[in-house]
Amino acid sequence: MAAPFDLNDDSVVVIIGTGAGGGVLANELAQKGVSVVALEAGGRYLPEDYINDEWESFGQLAWLDPRTTSGDWRVAKDFSGLPAWIVKAVGGTTVHWAGASIRFQEHEWKAKTTYGDVAGANLLDWPIDAAEMAPWYEKAETKLGVTRTGGRAGLPGSNNYKVFEAGARALGYKEVHTGRMAINSADYDDRMACQQTGFCFQGCKWGAKWSAAYTDIPRGEATGNLEVRERAHVARILHDASGKVTGVEYFDKDGTLQMQKARIVCVAGNSFESPRLLLNSASSMFPDGLANSSGQVGRNYMRHTTGSVYAVFDKPVRMWRGTTMAGIVQDEARHDPSRGFVGGYELETLSLGLPFMAAFLDPGAWGREFTSALDGYENMAGMWIVGEDMPQETNRVTLNHEVKDQYGLPVVDVHFDDHPNDVAMRNHAYRQGVAIYEAVGATRTFPTPPYPSTHNLGTNRMSENPRDGVVNKWGQAHDIANLFVSDGSQFTTGAAENPTLTIVALAIRQADHIAREMGKGAL
């Protein structure tokens, strides 16, 4: 049977969300001949639709449905209704991402074993390791066309990168380069080479950056096995008396409640919406929500230990010219507790346009201390910190029954407190970032607080033992065999690396597993 599929067709795999996890999974399954209905809450925007204007693009792409926040993180004060900066559109946050595509380090799959007991942290080893993931990483790098892998050349260095590189070399850093990026350095896979236009966060108008929106999604649709329903907001996952999931209820583009039957349901709505959906699907049989016998659904929310360092020089940099993320220092990504914390961090260049710099450099600040910094905008260079943060059971996504969304569904409250390890790591990274820029003559530096989260991880984590997490090593719910989690919420720990490559590798691997199990009649 070919797409479009009937609401009563209970042979389809329903995938909720079409980003790095769901979008890739949908295409991979469709390529294997599996019938897939993908339900996407947002609309469809393609390169010709993307807007190279920060606020206007934010209005077009960002997930702006209501959410609430609590905890000691500054985001809860400065952006109380916007805990995350992620996308509501076909392709999900792969429209917005900067393209950094780096593998986990071997020890990061085994955080508990490597770091030992860290007070207050709910550390756990992944039930998979680097050897298991190596072939899937290779497939992911090939799919995304990652530079500096598979014989693909690196991107050229921009002004922002050159400042960063010179400072890093002056400090003696060795692993300094223009990154392994899912941005074409030469034409690849029917996508053109990067034109150094900037606005990577607003969607690549050239299609030089990989996004599921214009690669995996249309290719899956071309097989006839994938139907993507846009503006379809899933409210609830349904199950039968045996505890197997049977379909999903969703509000269609007209706000009408529909029910799609399913053989298998895969949840890929990012680390807020995925646990929200499981919790909102509570029933008399599963009063604490689906797949939640461990009580871990929504817990262990991780967002990476982030922050930025901007610096002003006495001469122009014009950091906005070229890719938003243009290079990396990897020397600090190692695990070296002598620095006063476990785990490590990456430093990656970043630039914001003037409108977002005004909003994010020091939210809430005013007066000349703030405005004199912006007066130096043209002479500014910038970098972002991405470090491993500690999973904590109390960092948690819960349902806020006091606040309802446009469909009358309880929204999520996102609670986050920094762990002392996170604070120690961020302060170390601020010092090193400042030192990099001072080494090349910065006259003023700005250790900038974390933005609303773009890396949202861990709220349905993977575990060997069903007691410790929500899904097994395939992303399959411990409690419900035909329910899968396919996004970054299945991360056991966050590692120091940008998560998209790992989400894609896990999705390719999960598609292989699901198709194989379906073929055996096990699912």
Partner: protein, 174 residues
């Protein structure tokens, strides 16, 4: 830009004669604010002209950029000149003037030193009036494309083919 035009067909000279000097740069008259140095005027509909002049000065004092003319601060706060917004703004500016008087000045606008005006603002920065004005300026001022060139920011480059051949790597001072 409507505020470049003289209201009601008056010449600038006539406006200057009909208005009352307020602060260093503003002349307020009946239904208009005139900027004597930058040679523009804006009509006000719902707000008292003196209130609008105060608001423009407050905007500059919150985000002072010496290379940005008052005109852009005026554009950033112009949206408050509506019948819905006016009561809260009038009350906020009255509180601002009261705070100025509490510190020995005639009014906020008549406080000559920025340092003193900033002290007045600090006394109010926790309140909703200050936070509304400040929050609105983050986009009202910095998202105005006419302001960007003053900061050197070039905005979108897709229409010109990006920077691949236009200086993405042209830094020469390293």
């Amino acid at each position: 830009m409507s505020q470049h035009q003289s209201p009601r067909g008056l010449t600038r000279r006539e406006l200057l004669k009909s208005g009352v000097a307020a602060g260093a740069a503003f002349v307020v008259g009946s239904g208009f604010v005139l900027h004597s140095r930058e040679a523009w005027a804006m009509e006000t509909k719902a707000l008292a002209p003196a209130t609008m002049a105060t608001l423009i000065q407050m905007a500059r004092d919150i985000y002072p950029h010496d290379r940005v003319p008052d005109q852009y601060y005026a554009i950033a706060v112009k949206g408050y000149d509506t019948s819905e917004a006016a009561p809260a703004i009038e009350a906020g500016v009255a509180a601002l003037d009261a705070a100025a008087q509490g510190m020995g000045h005639a009014s906020y606008l008549a406080t000559p030193w920025e340092r003193d005006r900033v002290d007045i603002l600090r006394s109010m920065e926790g309140g909703p009036f200050f936070q509304t004005i400040r929050g609105g300026l983050v986009t009202g001022l910095y998202n105005n494309k006419e302001v960007w060139p003053i900061f050197g920011y070039e905005g979108e480059s897709y229409s010109e083919g990006g920077y691949i051949n236009r200086g993405f790597d042209d830094i020469s001072w390293l």
